[in-house]
């Protein structure tokens, strides 16, 4: 168990009859960051969250939340955890404030004092005394976060938090999550099937598919494809054929191909060697009009990974 981690699991497995929803998951969520748990629908994201929170029992494996083993020390572990599992649900016949009161009563006595600040924090103070059944989806999401904040959480676990939100609501939510991490030092564990959301909101992520962690680490590292990632350039030149001949014999270049906007070059070494490639082309009389590193997106990486899995296990049916 590593105390620098907000969540740690080893070989976590959850089976529902013959179906394996989580298959030996080893997850490491660093403290003080926004961590995306990314995967297609049915990949096991919600099952992972439900298992971590003790809503369902693990079939095998071990897990720690904020340094405490669960389920052995579940009560202590969850004292400083706030969570929204699937969509935030409330007693519709109670007001927003009363719904928070219901949860505060179950937590420690000082939680009552956090109700008003939590409502203010999510911008619901003025409508806190209206019944929840009159709330929009966005307001319910914000009330869900307020409910999480009652725990003064070191860790917030949010399951698909932007589901049902309009673009403005998504943007607002993203800003709030970043503020929770950057200004308040909390850890946010956010599950999503939306690559863009994770890429824009999170510092690190794990990609899960069919109950298995495919890769995990900082977003930039995952996008590049890990330490052994390829450094690629798009080179705009005045003579593509000449450029391809020069690059074909260059030791700095691993691979070069014609592309719509010039030549796509895979470097043999570090990104800094791009300057050497430029020099070789210029020395050979090829005019270089553009030299641009290829920015790898998480989406690209995600699709590569899941496509590879599809090739490996074509007989498996995604659940």
């Amino acid at each position: 168990m590593d105390s620098d981690l907000a969540v740690e699991t080893h070989g976590l497995t959850k089976r529902f009859g013959a179906r394996t929803a989580l298959d030996g998951v080893d997850l490491r969520v660093p403290r003080g960051c926004a961590f995306g748990f990314l995967g297609p629908n049915g990949a096991g994201k919600t099952t992972m969250i439900r298992t971590l929170l003790g809503l369902t029992h693990a079939s095998a494996g071990s897990m720690w939340v904020l340094g405490h083993p669960v389920p052995a020390e579940r009560a202590v572990a969850l004292q400083r955890v706030g969570a929204i599992v699937e969509e935030p649900r409330f007693h519709p016949h109670l007001s927003g404030r009363e719904n928070l009161h219901v949860v505060a009563a179950v937590r420690c006595p000082e939680t009552e004092e956090r109700i008003a600040p939590a409502l203010a924090r999510v911008g619901l103070s003025e409508r806190a005394d209206e019944k929840v059944k009159s709330y929009s989806m966005g307001m319910r999401q914000r009330l869900g976060v307020a409910r999480c904040l009652l725990a003064d959480p070191l860790l917030l676990i949010l399951d698909e938090p932007t589901n049902g939100l309009d673009p403005a609501g998504i943007q607002e939510f993203r800003v709030m999550i970043r503020a929770l991490v950057e200004q308040e030092g909390r850890t946010v564990f956010l599950s999503s099937h939306l690559l863009d959301e994770v890429e824009k909101t999170c510092d690190a992520a794990a990609i899960v598919d069919r109950g298995k962690i495919v890769t995990q680490g900082p977003i930039a590292e995952i996008s590049r494809g890990g330490d052994g990632a390829r450094n690629e350039l798009i080179v705009g030149v005045d003579d593509v054929d000449s450029a391809l001949r020069v690059l074909a014999v260059s030791e700095l270049v691993h691979e070069s191909t014609r592309s719509d906007d010039g030549v796509r070059v895979v470097l043999s070494g570090a990104p800094e060697t791009a300057a050497g490639v430029n020099a070789e082309l210029v020395r050979a009389g090829v005019g270089v009009v553009r030299l641009e590193p290829v920015r790898h997106s998480l989406e690209q990486r995600f699709l590569e990974i899941t496509a590879r899995l599809d090739e490996k296990a074509p007989e498996e049916v995604r659940t």
Partner: protein, 252 residues
């Protein structure tokens, strides 16, 4: 009760007290029969008898109000999808279940004992000249009997509803048991002493007034106090245990 238990019970009480539809129906079931009983006696120029009123409230309609309140307390968290949000606080599921019981009892008794107060006052106020009014001892004992019959049914309803985790299912099953199955079972004489196991019969044993078998009171079985106590305790223990077990083990 500890401070935590009080806070949790208070929160559970808030949930069911604010459920307007349940509260209105519970009030109607408890108060309307009492009002009709008193008005009917007034129209017939007769003195209302506490015994008949007690039969109406404590044996017939009060338990139905108790069922509504108990079922609401037993299912409100899971039917609204809030149970998981309470579980993820780290609080034990048994504690979450346990706090439902006093909350349900508080509302059940508030409603039914309010109706009983109306019955007791009406019985005295509408007594005709020369008709004896109920003694203070009888009024207190009848109050305790009303609390017992409605409270026991309410607790069973909390446990049963937590077990089946379906509000309509629990309401239908419990009301059907109370007003259809129980009298039918009691009427099947070949069942012999096994009929003592019917909760409503065991509760009737503690009545401060004698209900005679007949058109209004239905069939009344006689049993020993020990048997009645055991039957009532068995119902409470079994359904509380089942409700607690289900709350503790269910996937939320």
């Amino acid at each position: 009760m500890t401070e935590l238990a009080l806070r949790m019970t208070g929160a559970d009480f808030l949930k069911i007290r604010k459920k307007r539809s349940i509260l209105i129906w519970a009030l109607v079931l408890a108060f309307a029969p009492v009002i009709i009983f008193l008005v009917a006696n007034g129209l017939l120029n007769e003195s209302p008898s506490l015994s008949d009123g007690l039969n109406v409230l404590a044996r017939l309609f009060g338990p139905l109000a108790a069922i509504l309140v108990g079922v609401e307390a037993g299912t409100t968290d899971s039917s609204n999808g809030v149970l998981r949000d309470l579980i993820v606080t780290g609080r034990s599921r048994l504690a979450l279940f346990a706090s439902r019981v006093p909350a349900a009892l508080a509302l059940c008794w508030l409603v039914n004992l309010g109706a009983y107060a109306l019955l007791a006052v009406g019985t005295i106020a509408l007594a005709r000249d020369g008709t004896p009014t109920p003694s203070a001892e009888l009024i207190v004992n009848a109050l305790l009997f009303t609390a017992l019959t409605t409270g026991a049914v309410c607790v069973v309803a909390v446990g049963f509803a937590s077990l089946v985790d379906s509000k309509p299912g629990a309401i239908i099953a419990l009301i059907a048991w109370q007003i259809v199955a129980s009298p039918l079972i009691v009427a099947i004489e070949p069942l012999g002493r096994a009929r003592d196991g019917v909760l409503s019969q065991a509760l009737t044993h503690f009545s401060p007034v004698g209900f005679e078998s007949g058109r209004h009171a239905g069939r009344i079985l006689t049993m020993s106090t020990g048997t009645a106590v055991l039957v009532v305790l068995a119902w409470l223990v079994v359904f509380l245990a089942l409700g607690a077990w289900r709350t503790r083990t269910m996937d939320a």
